[in-house]
């Protein structure tokens, strides 16, 4: 990547998509380090939440569900990482950059829309991924959770989530007029996902009538795939269902960004 090289010879070095995205991500990482509130929410909530959940999960009646304390707790923790480190923090980031006219200014340059959005998302996505790794190691150490039985399901679940949730954050940010408003706008999906996507309580433990609706929520397939991937107890039918739901949400989220994302403040 020779994006920023100065040349004196024939023709200036052209920037590359990767070089531009990296420059934007680098700036965004610096900014994240200076936004204490966002950083605290992104880093500490996902790491602390599982601790508070542990006693509750320990007292659950998991008999017959094929689950263990670890395979309940770890996907939940990963869910929290996605909700707070990725979704919550990115809603604020996109709203802040829009209100400061940063997005508008960037669009006058060489960076393309996708690069601008991806550059802003990368640091949060990296933090989210790092937390997943830390949580996995922690669960293994503290609860003796083994390695995933079907790692490809875990990977697919995470991969789809790391596209879908930044996109959902971008759309959510578009329905607010300020950074504060953006945090409010992020609350409904965060709460619904915590309650309905098996983050706090495994879906298997929810009343029968509610589960079909909950399965359609955007975080549900991620939790299902991660949990199923770890325990290995996911039927082919449920696997396909979760994969289809996950892909559907990715498509919906990307479409919604293209359709509704606002690059400038509303005046």
């Amino acid at each position: 990547m020779s994006g920023t090289t100065v040349t004196t010879g024939a023709g200036p070095a052209r920037t590359t998509a990767a070089g531009r995205t990296r420059a934007l991500a680098h700036a965004e990482l610096t900014l994240l380090g200076r936004t204490r509130a966002t950083l605290a929410a992104a880093v500490f909530v996902p790491l602390v939440m599982p601790l508070t959940l542990r006693s509750a999960v320990s007292s659950m009646d998991l008999k017959g569900t094929g689950l263990t304390v670890g395979s309940v707790l770890l996907p939940s923790a990963i869910g929290f990482a996605l909700l707070f480190a990725v979704y919550g923090s990115l809603v604020s980031v996109y709203a802040a950059r829009r209100e400061e006219l940063v997005l508008k200014r960037l669009r006058t340059g060489e960076a393309r829309d996708l690069e601008i959005l991806a550059g802003a998302a990368l640091p949060s996505v990296a933090i989210g991924l790092a937390q997943c790794v830390v949580l996995t190691i922690a669960c293994r150490a503290a609860l003796g959770t083994g390695l995933p039985e079907r790692p490809e399901l875990v990977a697919l679940g995470l991969l789809s989530a790391l596209v879908t949730w930044p996109a959902l954050a971008a759309v959510t940010a578009s329905f607010s007029r300020s950074v504060e408003g953006a945090q409010v706008a992020a609350a409904p999906l965060t709460l619904v996902s915590m309650v309905g996507s098996g983050t706090f309580v495994p879906l298997q433990m929810l009343p029968d009538g509610v589960a079909p609706f909950c399965e359609l929520l955007p975080l549900t397939p991620v939790i299902t795939l991660v949990r199923g991937g770890w325990s290995g107890h996911l039927s082919a039918h449920d696997t396909v269902g979760a994969l289809v739901t996950a892909v559907a949400w990715t498509v919906i989220a990307v479409f919604a960004v293209r359709r509704w994302f606002r690059w400038e403040p509303r005046r």
Binding site: T4, A27, E100, T108, E110
Partner: protein
């Protein structure tokens, strides 16, 4: 891909831009045509809402036009953005930098998105911001932010520079040094498209300019050409005991019209020297003093005000059958076409 063989770096033909909303479309740009040659400073003037920024955004390729054609360096700036963007520099009306980054960090971010970027320090020095490189953007003054914006627009040594109100918020000194810098760039071959609402700025800088009014080109040419079509003015206080009718016959002085405010009379003339001479000779002979005598050649400001007033009056004429009073009085001697 065609390279441009001729000298027009920016070509705009019949440009239209429509903002949709709730079934009521607003046409902000209504058939704008002009071109900018290589190494030229071209200014777009206009009142607020005249369509300056809407026009410039189309030329920058931020949005596709609703009609007409734009070419920048021979390319469509919207569909051919990959070819155009590395060769242009843009400074928007308002900054747009993360407030928590330092000046140097902001420059580094932009350098990473700019082909053939110069070292950030060199460009910051050029706008006298080198000593502020460790300062957060939020701590910069309004003028410093404008200069940072300009520095970033210059990072890639652009062939075409777009400056949207570049000196708004600058003090007199900052404004002068920005003008100096823009002239240097022009002399080095950079083409500059500038919008401003400071007429002095256009007069100082622009090789050619267009005055926009309600989305149309109301006047186009060099500052001298645009100004030349406007009348000059002579004003003074009527001597005690004199009425306007006591003056020599005004048409004989080359005066095309006049207005009085209290004792003060303002003569409009296309022949300033003739009018002024005849008036002074008359005063000498009549042994009267013309107190508060003010002889004023046409200025761009006057041209600008008149053009927007005339355009407003014309709009009025289109809507109402009769127009009386001052509006009728200020109707132009000849209507300027939207020259292309």
């Amino acid at each position: 891909m065609n390279t441009n063989q001729h000298d027009d770096v920016i070509e705009v033909t019949g440009l239209r831009r429509v903002y949709g909303g709730g079934g009521r479309d607003f046409e902000a740009v209504r058939g704008v045509t002009f071109s900018v040659g290589r190494g030229e400073i071209f200014a777009l003037l206009g009142t607020n809402g005249a369509g300056k920024t809407s026009t410039v955004e189309l030329i920058e390729g931020l949005a596709p036009p609703a009609g007409g054609r734009v070419r920048v360096l021979g390319h469509d700036p919207y569909t051919g953005r990959a070819a155009v963007r590395p060769r242009i520099g843009v400074m928007l009306q308002e900054g747009g930098f993360p407030s928590e980054l330092t000046v140097a960090e902001t420059a580094r971010m932009w350098a990473g998105c700019t082909s053939g970027s110069r070292p950030a320090g060199e460009v910051l020095d050029r706008v006298a911001l080198g000593h502020r490189s460790g300062v957060r953007v939020k701590q910069l003054s309004g003028g410093e932010k404008r200069r940072l914006d300009l520095a970033l627009a210059l990072l890639g040594d652009p062939e075409v520079l777009f400056l949207d109100e570049p000196t708004t918020g600058l003090d007199v000194e900052g404004r002068r040094s920005t003008w100096e810098l823009v002239r240097e760039l022009r002399d080095a071959g950079t083409t500059v498209l500038l919008t401003t609402h400071y007429l002095e700025e256009a007069e100082e800088l622009a090789d050619r300019l267009a005055i926009l009014h309600e989305g149309r080109v109301a006047a186009l040419g060099t500052p001298a050409e645009v100004t030349a079509s406007q009348p000059s003015h002579v004003s003074f206080e009527l001597p005690d005991g004199y009425l306007p009718g006591d003056l020599p016959p005004l048409p004989g002085l080359g005066v095309s019209g006049h207005e009085t405010t209290g004792r003060r009379i303002r003569l409009r003339t296309g022949e300033l020297q003739r009018t002024a001479t005849a008036l002074l000779v008359w005063a000498e002979r009549a042994r009267v003093e013309l107190r508060g005598l003010d002889v004023r050649p046409a200025s761009l400001e006057e041209a600008f005000l008149r053009i927007s007033r005339d355009a407003a009056a014309r709009d009025g004429d289109e809507n109402a059958a009769t127009t009386t009073g001052p509006a009728a009085d200020t109707r132009p001697a000849r209507t300027r076409g939207t020259a292309a």
